[in-house]
Structures are given as C-alpha cells and as structure tokens.
C-alpha cells in the first residue's frame, strides 16, 4: 500500500503562498492517489502551460509538462497507446478554454477515458493578470491588470460547465480548491468513471483576483447532493428540482445558472452509456 506523502517530489512549487493550486495538489498527492492505490508508474499527469500546469513536476508519477493548450491531445495519444495507464490532465482556464478549447469537443466525442482537471482561477496569472475566457466583469483597479469594464472591450465569459454539458461530456463536475475533502471525492469519482471526465476546480488566485470574487463564491457555494433539491438563484425562471446527475437535461439546466449568482459544487452529470474509445472493438 502506498503511503500518504509518497506522491510528492522534492520540487518546490512556484506558486504564491495561499494559492488555490495547493488545494488540487494536496487532493491528488495526499488523498486521491494513495486512496485509489494507483501505482506511481501507472499514473501519468499531462499538463500544458500556466501556473497550474506546473503541477506534474510536484507529483511523483510519470509527468509531462507540455506546451500551451496541447495537453489534451498528448494525453489522448498516451492513453490510447497504453490503456492500462491512469491519465490525468491538469491545466488552467486559459490552457483548456482559450488556446486549447478546440480539442475539447473532440476528446468528448471520442470519450477517451482520461480525467481532465481544469483549475479555474479566472485569470492568466503566470503572465501577470490578463483576462481569460472565464474572467468575470470587474472594475478597473480591482486587482485585475486589464479590467473588462473599460478596456479591452468585454468578451462575454465562457462557462465551462455549460460548455461541457453542451458537448455531452460523460462526466462533469465542479469543485472548489478551498474544500479539499470534497474536491478529492470529485477527482476520485472522475478517475473511476469509465469515460471522459471533466472536473472544474474553482481556484482563488491570491495575487490577481479581486478580493470579492472568492468571497462571493465561498459565501454562496451550494453543494449538489443526489435526490436533494437544487438551489437556484432568484433570477432563475425554473423551480428547484431533485438533483439527479444521471439526467443530461437537468445538467443542461444546471449549466444555465450563472456562476456568480449561484456557484454550484458537485457532480453535474455522470453518463452511463457510451463506451470509452479504447474499449471499442
């Protein structure tokens, strides 16, 4: 049995003190990998470029810190050539959702059995605070280097949950870096799910996020629990329903809930049908 702690390398993370990325790293190395008993040599973590993409260097498994936006194709090639490996992809919102977004619908339709962990810190942090596809509207001077409100012109934000629901990813979940216990459960579910899994981790950037952003998210966060009523914001025309992650139409409805009005955490969708591509004859 692998002991906790064995999955960390001696490399010191480049992250700021208090960075949310530590939450994902801890969930993986201290909890998920030891608990699943995944042999280090059968685990491969692929990443692109960004703060969170440095993660493979800190985990004692096979790792590949590749180039910006291309972790998903590399991970697919590896998984298809060696299906016995557990393959994880870790990256940020810019990596997955801006430069690498073109690969996502295709990995979804192939349903390659890999687990993507998108660490969403709402910002390009490694390049010091430019807007990403997930940056909410904030005012100038609120910590963001480039504020949406005045310049550059506003690009409406892209919501990763609605995106993955619309492409019918076979496992969709959202966690938060500040709740490691919940996050580790989600990642474990994602790894054990047979098929493509997409997990978003709401992650505070202590340097470039405006302070109110995570105050709102943490204050309003609501945990989805199977068979219990979902919590909808006042703006929602829908009436609450009992959460059923097996129903894609309910996942579509959840995906319509604006993140900052009502952050939802948990498993949005867990598909039952569909064989991963590497199991096909």
């Amino acid at each position: 049995m692998t002991k906790a702690g064995e999955y960390r390398t001696g490399v010191k993370p480049i992250w700021c003190s208090g960075c949310g990325n530590f939450g994902t790293l801890t969930a993986l190395t201290k909890r998920v990998l030891p608990r699943l008993g995944l042999p280090r040599h059968k685990t491969l973590i692929v990443s692109g470029i960004g703060c969170s993409s440095r993660l493979p260097a800190y985990v004692d498994s096979y790792g590949f810190n590749s180039i910006h936006g291309r972790a998903v194709p590399i991970a697919q090639g590896a998984k298809l050539a060696r299906p016995e490996l557990t393959v994880l992809v870790v990256g940020g919102d810019g990596d997955f959702f801006s430069i690498g977004a073109g690969h996502l619908p295709h990995v979804v339709r192939r349903n390659v059995n890999i687990t993507c962990i998108m660490v969403n810190n709402f910002i390009y942090a490694l390049t010091k605070g430019q807007v990403s596809p997930t940056t909410p509207n904030v005012r100038r001077g609120e910590g963001v280097f480039l504020s949406h409100e005045y310049y550059p012109p506003v690009d409406p934000l892209l919501d990763m949950v609605s995106y993955s629901a619309s492409t019918r990813a076979s496992f969709i979940a959202q966690g938060i870096a500040t709740d490691v216990a919940h996050l580790e459960w989600l990642i474990q579910e994602g790894i054990e799910h047979k098929g493509f899994s997409f997990i978003t981790v709401l992650t505070p950037c202590v340097t470039y996020n405006p302070q109110w952003l995570f105050e709102i998210i943490r204050e309003k966060a609501f945990y989805l629990r199977d068979t219990e009523p979902v919590l909808l914001p006042e703006s929602s025309p829908e009436r609450p329903w009992l959460h059923d992650p097996g129903d894609i139409s309910l996942a579509f409805k959840l995906a319509q809930v604006p993140l900052l009005e009502q952050p939802l955490l948990g498993v949005f969708f867990r598909g039952k049908s569909g064989k991963p591509i590497e199991d096909m004859e």
Binding site: A57, F64, I67, P73, Q76, L80, L85, G102
Partner: protein, 569 residues
Amino acid sequence: MRSNVTLGIVGAGGHGIVAMGSLLQRIAASQGYFSRMPRYYTAQIRGGGSAVRLILDSRRLSLPADVLDLLVCFSWEKYLEFETELTLGADTVVIYDDDPPSCMKLPRNSFKIGLSRISQEETGSERNMNLVALGLLSRMLSFDRGRVERVVEEDTALQLLKENIVALDVGESIFAEMSFPDLALEPSRDESPKVVIHGNNAMARAALRAGCRAYFGYPITPSAEVMQDMLEGLFYEQGVFVQAEDEIAAVGMAIGASFVGAKSLTGTSGPGFDLMTESIGLASAAEIPLVVIDVQRCGPSTGIPSKSEQSDLDHAIYGGHGDAPRVVLAPYDIDGCYRLVIEGFNMAEGYQTPVIILSDQWLGQTFVAVNDGFMKSDYNVIERKKPAAEETDGYLRYRVTNDLVSPMAVAGDEGFTYRTTGLTHNQGGAPAFDYETHQSLHQKRWEKLSPLRDRGDLVRVLGNEKATAGIVTWGSSAPFVLETVGQMAVEGELKVCIPELLHPLPHKVVRFVESVERLLVIEMNYSGQLYRYLRSQADLPGDSRPYCRAGGRPFSQRELAEVITEVVK
C-alpha cells in the same frame, strides 16, 4: 519494336481517366513492364479535369518523355486545362472522341473515333468508353489479351460486368478495322511482374515494417493516402489510429503515444506541417522520438494543393523558435520512400529526436511499376535505448551519457517515474532556469546528432568522380536530373550528388561541393532553399549557382538540358 512509349489520357472527372490509366499500368506490370504515371487533377471532385501521363518501358523505370507518343482525349475542353502537361508533337498519335475546337491543329496521325457513341451503342452506356479505349490501346501496344482480361476481372472497383469485356472486345475490333501507326512495345526484358505503388503507399508500408503502431493524422492533399494506408495497416496490426481534429492535435497525440513507448507517426502537407511546428520543437526539447512525413505541395499558404514543389526545406530544417535540432530526410525515388521511413524511425528512436521526412506530390502520388525487391530486403530496425532494470536507483531521464542519448523509461515502467517538460530542465527532468544547464542541454541535443554527419551511405554520388563540374539535387528533382544527364550522355564530364540526409548535413556532401570548380544546385522551389542551405554549410566554389523555379510543373528534359549544358561546357 519500341522499348518505351509515353501516353496521355485526358477527360473530365467521372470519365474514368485514372481508372483507365491504372488498369493500363497494371496490365503492363503483369507483363513485366516498368512504368510511371503522374496524374493531374483540379480541385473539384466531379466535373473537374483529370489527366494522366504514363510511360511504359520494357527496360527500366524511366520518366515520361516531354512529348507524348500517344494521346487519348475524351474532352478537348479538359485537354486545354492540361495542355502543358500533355504536349503534342508532329508524330504524336491522337485518338479522340469528338471534334476539337477550331483553334487546335492536330498532328497528322489523329483519329476521330466516337468512343462515347460506340460505348453507348455496344454496351448500353457511355461510361464504358474508357474500357473501349483500353481495348484499342492494348492491341496497339501489343499486350497479351488473356492478361488484359485477367487484370480487368481482378479490379474490384470495376465490379466486373459483362459489358466490361464487351467494351474491351469493341475496342479491339476498332484496331482491326483501322490502320494505326506502329506503337507496339518490345516484350519486357525482365518478365517478372512488377508491383504498382506510389510513394505514399510505400511510406505507410515502411512505417508498419519499422514497427510503427500508432498513427495520428488529419486529411490533407497530397498526403491523404499515407493516412488511408495507415488506417488499413494498423487495423490489421491492432495498432492505434486516430483521425484527429487538426494537425496540432495529430502531432500532439503522436508525441503522447511515443512518450509511453509506441513508435508513432504523423503525416501531412505544407499547411498542416506549419501547424505542427511548435510541437516538433517540444519533441526536440523533451527528446521524444517522433516521425513526421511532409508530402510537399506548392506553397505558400494554400498554394496549389495538387501539385508538387520542394519548398518546405527551410521550414523542415529551421522551422520553429529557439534552436530545436531535428533530422531531415528526403527520398528521391520509390525505394527511398520505403527505406528512409524505416531509417527515419531508426533515427527517431535511436537519437530520441523528431525526424522530418520530406516527400512531395510527385513522389507521393505518382504510381510506378517496379520490382518489389526493396520491400523484401532486410532492414535493420533500431529500438529505443531503455534503462536496465537495475538502474532504478537515482534514475535520471536526461543523464548525460557518452553518446549523449539518455536511456528512456516510458510511462508504465516500474521504478523509473520522471517528469518531462518543454521547459529547460536538468538531468532529472526538473525545470531549471540557469544559463549553465540551458547551454549544456542545447549541447546535448545538438551534439547527439553529430554522428549522422558520417552517414555517407545516405548521400548518393554518381558520374565521373574526377569531374570539376558538379550538380547537387534532392528529392523528386533528382530523377529528372539523372534522366537528363543520361540522355545528354555527359556522365563522363560531371558528377551528381543526391543527399537523402539533408540535416544534419553529411560530411560527404560538403566534400562533394568543395571538390568541384563549377556547381549547379537543381531544385524545385522559387528561392533556392537547398542552395542557400549549402552556402551556410560549406565553402561553395566561386562558380556556383542554383537552378530553381516554382513547382506546378515537373522539370522537362529540355529545360534541364539547357542549364546542364552551361555547367559542363
């Protein structure tokens, strides 16, 4: 009797031009004739023009002559689109379906034969007119009737119908009724049946032979057949095949598969090759074996997708930022297409580096009929250097060894976990940000390739060793140069160098260019890419010049004879 004949067939898409050409080629191949059949097409799938030029030769694999001996024309409108590829001479025999436009003056031996009408009357459909013409041609060329029928029967695409044989009979009877000039071919010197194959086929077969079990690609002209053949081949080998969403994904997947130990290939053409540039840099930096086939076409940008050019050399050698070494190979004939792909895998695996193999539309899509010995030869297949089982303690992925190639564990190997990265990294693979590590890593990646400079076997030198005039040429330009030199009978007055390994440049090439007083570099691109590259690598003689021009039309022997005359005089 003649030893060779060059013929052209032209019509609209849907007339079965390529089908007729390839039937003729296979009939000839079954009787031992060598042949080569470049094809020409326009972008649209239906309604566009289609033409082939085919040389049948009883002695050797030669190039189609500049001027046709025989033209079969199903549409004069389409003929005019390919006029420069299908040049008529005073002695060309022309067989055509309906009257040419009034502006055209036909050679004296021109025969109007209502092929479409006869086909309609005798077989109930105009669609068999290519077979009517085939029946006629097989008699004109004096082919064995039994073999003609056998090849037609074996063609699964034809879905043999009684009309097909009827159509052949009708064609043969036309021969009996009319009097044509004699085009009969002498029997093939070497009657062993020839295999009909093009470069794209050969490259895919070679990849499988080298042990490639993972292919990732995206459709693009003129390399699509590589992907198609790999799809078939890997299905039988139970390998991995993915048609990716774009070339960036394709090369990324290939790198991922190679990282976990599979010999991986991707194939593409110019625009797709551009998209792979960043990832090729990654494979170079992280020392991950990768083979990329680029079947070049006319550029820049979309250029002319269906026509040949040799204009990706700069990109193959230099493409990408930040000093990323790689290997560049370029075959110039069909067996080179096969041999160099195996060689390419050996180099990629042996040196842990990306290998780019530059083919082009001419090599890739021109069907040739040749002896299949090159596919049956023994080839050495090299596997990746792996760490020994006892090296688990303190395993360093990028350990500096004597030959600078580090033993590479792959994901799944117990006891060797490591992290790789496109970041500058230390011997263990951890990111590093200091000058010393950076400099030594560059040195490792560049220097490990230096033994390749001794690969004189990948440089072919022909002609008179003592000559003071020399030609360097590469890729599909080379057979044109050799053919022209042969026709001019000037082998005694010059020597020709054809490097198959272009980067790193073998010493043998440098010695060659430094041994002559007059140097001509012949290549098919506008800016003289090989010429400029050679200038950067060697002291060229004072009298050095490129002969280079844009692609889009193969070199003619007349054109090359003019420039070669200049250099030998």
